[in-house]
Point group: C2
Chain length 189, copies 2
């Protein structure tokens, strides 16, 4: 997605530790006009997928999932990182390590929102080591759902999470894949 | 908003401890077709407000803020509940007690996204004791921004957070206000 690559180059900031900061438009501040385009791009990539529901994980996946859901007229479910008093009943859960935050989280989804047999499209803002996607795939498959594809906005190709999932046969699309990232340069695949 | 009241009555679930569960369409699963209508309703309420940016707090406020931002063509900023490695630089912060989760969180926004003088519309999914709104107002005013209004989707009128803020002179709108809630009945204002 050319607009996205341009935006990453003009507004992205490489921080120490291989963190790409895109807070100005994607995950702290959200450029809603641009977000709409992201939703439409996801729709055009997965129009033929048969997806019936979109699954993501809080919190920075929510905006992306909502944009895709609005473009595709599909409901969104987001996994939570902690069990709150408004999560009742039985849940599916999976352990996810966040390299960005340095934490382990049990992510969870109420069973009622993932009925068996549903075709699921998983979306998230970033795909790096693939920890979040693996956790979401595990939850969807535990529920007896079919993962028809996964879409990240920005994939860090050099951290191999995406390529490992592709090797396992999943359809993984990313709107921009970064193969190399230094303080002064970002090289796309 | 009549559609919303109908949806609360047909899909909402009153849990012990005064928790209204609307996870089927608002804050675990998101009905994106309905969410679009919520965004349009917020636009029609605040079209004359002069709002230049929408502020909310992660994570369940994000979908509402994105819907409003898309309807109003305004950028969204969301406060985070923990400092992550992609939040760099100076921040505004405020202490918020969550009655639902039983926790205290320092919510924070990078200073770069709240330049002084900006007109801010604050949105959230729920307004109960007003803790989150008070925290967001404190952050916006610390930044030298003007809070032109606050909009919650569902206000628990019996918990007085909204009325206390109205008494302080803020423009507070809620798409549905619940004045009484029991296991068997929900009464709107």
């Amino acid at each position: 997605m050319k607009d996205l690559k341009d935006k990453i180059l003009s507004e992205g900031d490489v921080l120490p530790g291989g963190v790409l900061k895109v807070g100005s438009f994607l995950n702290q501040q959200i450029d809603t006009v641009f977000l709409k385009k992201i939703g439409e791009e996801i729709r055009s990539l997965f129009a033929d997928s048969g997806a019936e529901k979109i699954l993501t994980v809080e919190s920075s996946g929510i905006a992306i999932a909502v944009a895709a859901g609005m473009a595709m007229d599909l409901p969104v479910v987001f996994a939570k990182k902690s069990k709150t008093s408004n999560v009742s009943g039985e849940i599916y859960t999976s352990l996810v390590h966040s390299f960005t935050h340095g934490t382990d989280n049990h992510i969870m989804v109420s069973k009622e929102y993932l009925p068996s047999g549903l075709k699921i499209l998983i979306v998230d803002d970033f795909l790096a080591h693939g920890s979040a996607l693996n956790g979401l795939i595990a939850i969807a498959e535990d529920a007896g759902c079919e993962v028809v594809g996964c879409c990240s906005v920005i994939e860090k190709g050099f951290q191999l999470g995406g390529d490992n999932l592709r090797a396992r046969g999943y359809r993984i699309e990313s709107l921009a894949i970064i193969d190399e990232m230094t303080d002064s340069d970002i090289i796309f695949r």
